[in-house]
Amino acid sequence: MGAQDLAFYYLGFAMILSGLFTVFSRNPVHALLSLLVLVVHQAFMLYLLGSEFLSAVQIIVYAGAVVVLFLFVVYLINLQKEARFRVFVRRFSLGLIFFILFAFLFIKYFVLIFSMSTSIRTLLPIDPTSSQALKMMARYLFTEYLFQFELIGVILLVVVLGTVFLLRKAKEERLG
């Protein structure tokens, strides 16, 4: 067993464990801190999968922005009183039906990915281990996926405007 296999097993085990802590933890702050653990392990797994650029983006965007945003909202909404009530929904059987339905669908599509043979042709060839990989990825991003890249920029602009608009509207309604 090589070092890469060992790293995969450690990272996978830690990610599953911290994911379970996130779902089953009673205190929202504890849940979000285990989500942070999961995100950092995921960044190392992206490094293992040959892309140090995506690893850095994962740390900056997820650990630096998204989880901190979640924690800010938890501090904004004070939940200390309600933290001792139950964690899961009361209508368990209804949720179980939907869970089994969705799980069946997703397992079906994951099995489809398992059976995906190597006969599919490669669209954008890259060698993840070479030093030119990031250069190749940037070239593909700005040629093949240029329209989608610009679209992401527009979506982020809309998100900024929508966030400001929604919170300002809620504030005015509360005052008036």
Binding site: M15, I16, L35, Q58, V87, F88, F99, I155
Partner: protein, 100 residues
Amino acid sequence: MVDLNSYIYLSLILFMIGLFGFIFRRNLIILLACVEIMLNALIILFASISYFRKDATGYILVFFIIAMAAAEAAVGLTLAVALYKKLKKVYTEEINLFRG
């Protein structure tokens, strides 16, 4: 030996954990955190397929997924805060504006 199937199994397990939390948790903020877990599972899936097939499409999709996840978290948390300011509730069972 770790191959593509191991990564797909890990992705499937993480996705199921996120789906379980998304359906069964009551807290609206933890619900959004569970969506993030599911998106992380998809990131593993795309990056591992891209690594083992030497195809850059998966890496670029991971880039887009991370950008979309940031946008989704911002909008979702904004809606949660707006809902809390209006109703003083963050539990999904207690938000019943349409009850007759």
